[in-house]
Amino acid sequence: MTIAATIIATQMPPAPLVRHRRQAAHPALVAAALLVAAVALIPAGFVIWVLIQSGWDTASAMIFRPRVGEIFLATVLLQALAVPLSVLLAVVLAWLTERSDLPFRGLWRWLAVAPLAIPAFVMAYAWDSTLPMLRGLWPAVGISVLAYFPLVYLPVIAQLRRLDPAAEDVAATLGHSPARVFVTVVLPQLRLAILGGGLLIAMHLLAEYGLFVLIRYDTLTVAIVNQFQAVYDGPAANLMGIVLVACAAGLLALEAWLRGDRRYARVGSGAARVAPLARLGKSAPLWMVLPILVSLLAVGLPLATLTRWLWIGGTAALHLDQLLPALGQSAFYAVLGALFVTLAALPIAWLSARAPGPLQRALENVHLHVGALPGVIVALALVAISIRVALPLYQTVATMLIAYVLLFLPRAVVSIRASIAQVPLELQQAATALGRSPFRAALGTTLRLAFPGIAAGMSLVAMGIVTELTATLMLSPIGTETLATQFWSRTGEFDHMGAAPFAIAMVVLSIPLCIILHRQATHTR
């Protein structure tokens, strides 16, 4: 071999010794995470401040009123009906599209995710402008189910695909009929997905504003926003906010209680096999009615309505002179917001993926808890604090961006942490052993490889910002005209034709959301 001895160890100048750092977490990252956590505590701090400030007498007089009781009951009733119905619909559809031989399953799967591209308030607008007699509880429940059931459908199909079909085979050999296997073996393993998705729907319904205004159904959030618009920063809105936070806490507690301590871990790696499909046989056409009906009501009718208004209005109603600036403003907030949220989420996501510890866990929980607070609370808190402490920030782009950071921080943390954790630490160590400084090694390997996941998380946030209505209405600086605010002011004036282009723009901008979520649920790693 002629290539022998091409490698001779090089004599390098002695490298200086550096004092050991005993903590795996870099102090600068911890400081950044602490700063974000402090900002994340603003809404919770505001709630406590309201409680202390108003005192028991004022608070009880404001909270324990018949009107508040009425609204509270209306909110609870809506939750009690809409959440179980959404779960039922989602599980049946998931079973049909994943575990039965229903024809066109792929199409129905897409159509079951598609409602997520239509913001709930746009769906309500479509129904309201088609059938203006839809008012009150049942229409509110119906539209809520149609708009939000995909939030349970997605985790359930993802979990169904992860299950080891061997367990079902074994149950069959133990004499269980297919139906019993589903109830006794499959359903229990879907529990966490159902509870998680159900909680998500409940939280969305608690925070939803536009849908219930259009259907004339007063929930707590609707009442708070109305109160806020009548009297800025008034005690009544703030104190009703306390009731809303109590509801959110109650939902979290309920979910935790239902979830219990049981975990269903898969024993062994299991078979990489696709579960057998249940044969629907002659009843297939009957089953087909369900996905057809749901698709027509949740996707078909809204899209048909929007197209119809656009058609009737013609090019004149397009209002390109307003549509384009609104698009620009929405894009501005979406891009900047997504960027800030990602920057804010990075420190804690990195720490919890790469240097977990008790402090990091506590900090992470502080980051995540904002997710349980409805948008109105975040908005009320920011209004209160900017008026009292930082007046120059009142009604500025900065406040709006802070609100978006707070609203979307939890989902950014979760997706960035998962993307980072997926990159093997060995790659970063290999880069270090090859002479890259720790910072460059992290940048060149972990962050580089986590980037697609982080980018997907960013686009989810951006789409969330484009269709965010409640906090945007409450906080946007005067003169801000985003797609959502333009749409909303037109529906307020019953200008159905004028609202349609803005609604369609939001739907189009949300289509990637469906694609990303569909892919995440069906490509189980």
Partner: protein, 341 residues
């Protein structure tokens, strides 16, 4: 002259003493295998040398330069220590060529250098533009080796680099790696839990147990003269017998066995016989041992023999001329026994 010198190294994780009072010297160009059961501290040792962990006590020196003490250390990226990990840890977003030249700082002739390294590790140059996932496990490990060699490291660390491969490929790549490293003349430390791999690779074997050095030396010497019964059975099947030593021989149930000159002090002792020293033969009715069972697996048979006072011995032997189970047999021992200190 030793390249790497470790003195009194210790590392603790919470309540677990991962490594304690550990000394090691690695000579230039030599190959050292650190072997031990999982949890014995061998990975900790490797991470301490690479700079991913800092020691609680002791000192690591490379070429006379201090790499780490309890207080301070050279950061991992300035140590110029090569590292090949279990599954290669190739950068999935870079081509083979870019992986290999990742650590080459002189960009100008980086590509030529990387291609030469591909020759050295016997990878076809046509693979240069492929992605890591298009390569087999063995090829990936060759890339990882080339990538580490590109930096002309002062020391190469191999962290179970063959364990993810199937048996045949593992042995082939182990030989190739040993060959490449001796041609490159880089001192190497291999960490493994596989004793055959360790003995087949190293000129010096270090056995770790519970974070402490159990024994170190030339592989063959360690196999034939282990320090204690633990090392003996870790390095291979061992038959340990009670013995009475006198006149340079150990009286055991397998007969009078010769002992090495250094171990002839009279008295009670424990001695080691390796199964390959045993021969099994037919006996008349007077044989002291009886073949209880024989499980034949191709060329070898796992046999159990029962002897005086209900003792049984199980070992692997050749199937050639194997007596029928149930028949009396004679057991004889060739070569000396090893007496434990």
């Amino acid at each position: 002259m030793s390249v790497l010198s470790i003195r009194g190294l210790a590392k603790r994780y919470g309540a677990t003493q991962a490594l304690a009072d550990f000394d090691l010297d690695v000579a230039g160009g030599s190959r050292v295998a650190i072997v031990g059961p999982s949890g014995s501290g061998k990975t900790t040792l490797l991470r301490l040398i690479a700079g991913f962990e800092s020691p609680d006590a002791g000192e690591i020196k490379l070429d006379g330069q201090t790499l780490a003490t309890a207080e301070a250390g050279v950061p991992a990226h300035r140590r110029n220590v090569g590292l090949v990990m279990q599954e290669g840890a190739l950068f999935p977003h870079l081509s083979i060529l870019d992986n290999i030249r990742f650590g080459i700082t002189d960009r100008a002739d980086g590509e030529a250098e990387a291609l030469k390294l591909m020759d050295l590790v016997e990878l076809d140059r046509a693979m240069a533009n492929r992605s890591p996932h298009q390569l087999s496990g063995g090829q990936q490990q060759r890339v990882a080796l080339a990538r580490a060699l590109a930096r002309k490291p002062r020391l190469m660390l191999l962290d179970e680099p063959f364990s993810a491969l199937d048996t045949e490929l593992r042995e082939q790549l182990r030989r190739a790696t040993a060959d490449i490293l001796s041609r490159a003349n880089v001192a190497t430390i291999l960490v493994t839990h596989d004793r055959d791999e360790a003995m087949g690779f190293a000129d010096q074997l270090v056995v770790l147990r519970n974070g402490r050095l159990a024994q170190a030396g030339v592989p063959r010497a360690l196999y034939l003269a282990p320090a204690d019964e633990g090392v003996a059975s870790f390095l291979g099947a061992a038959i340990v017998l009670d013995a009475e030593v006198s006149d340079g021989h150990a009286a055991t149930m397998l007969g009078n066995l010769p002992l090495a000159a250094a171990h002839q002090a009279p008295g009670r002792a424990r001695v080691l016989v390796r199964p390959e020293q045993l021969q099994l033969a037919h006996a008349g009715e007077g044989g002291a041992w009886r073949l209880v069972s024989a499980l034949c697996v191709g060329p070898t048979a796992h046999v159990t023999v029962a002897g005086p006072a209900e003792t049984t011995i199980s070992f692997d032997t050749t199937t050639v001329g194997l007596p029928e189970p149930g028949r009396p047999v004679v057991l004889s021992v060739s070569g000396p026994a090893h007496r434990f200190a």
